[in-house]
Symmetry: C2
Amino acid sequence: MKIAPKTSAPETSSKLLDIVIERLKTSGGRMTKKRERVLGALFTMDRPASAEEIRKRAEFPESDLVTVYRNLETFEKLGMLQRVPLENGTHLFELTAPDEHYHHLICRECHKAERLDICVTHELIDKAKSQGYSQIAHVMEVYGICEECAKH
Amino acid sequence: MKIAPKTSAPETSSKLLDIVIERLKTSGGRMTKKRERVLGALFTMDRPASAEEIRKRAEFPESDLVTVYRNLETFEKLGMLQRVPLENGTHLFELTAPDEHYHHLICRECHKAERLDICVTHELIDKAKSQGYSQIAHVMEVYGICEECAKH
DNA sequence: GCCCCTAATGAAAGTCTATTTCATTTCATT
DNA sequence: AATGAAATGAAATAGACTTTCATTAGGGGC
């Protein structure tokens, strides 16, 4: 399956679902029953969730966790799914608008993550404090391919 | 081993090593030969490194990776070590000034991480671009204990 | 210097998220 | 319906990190 390059398509009034389906077709992907259920699960979530939570929400047997992972990977490559890193090295997953990405306020204990609409560190922390969060920590890391690696 | 509360001690001219040792003693910890080697490794690093890299630098046999992890955990609890999350869910580690923390510019390929002195997202990205990084992505997440969890 | 308590270590097994392999099934296009 | 590639299922694997438990060794008190 080839994955389409990330184009900032003109934002029409079509829903996220339509965009996903369109991108899927464009890239040679198919809409299967399982994939529909995973998508459905992602759509009903109001916050990022773990692969395991998504499996349950899609009403898949435990053995189908691998299908969830594979679908998440697909949506990620389509530029419509974001991986939210937790402090323990695991991830939550969430559908996004095309090629968008979000930041979150994440409970260190229950891992509930809620989306934030600001993107500046001290504002984020103020926001967290004002919402009653304690023991606040944050990560902000920039990833990229360095010039040296880009040559190879 | 009890861990001392994070106090912002008045910044004297004492070196980082002295501070680590002092905090260690205060919290009931000991300075062992192995710990000295791990600390030594951390001190000679000019950038965050993986536990495995630290093991090599400390000239430990492979079986002592667990000792590295345990020491990293100790230093982290002392408020003098930061875990830098990578995109793949693993971490790099780096000594920090007491209760400080840093952000980094990390190569998505070789995982080389260099410290940044700015803390605002768009500035970070501009900096990354100006340094020739490509395929730039970043994470900025805020972690904390939510009010609900704090009650339990 | 010697005791003694407790922290730290060593070895090995265990956890857990996530990925890979490969045979089989299923989609969607012709 | 036939066909070729994509998706799935089952099971094994990867890999970072943790835990258990017996043993060793700091370092304060004497």
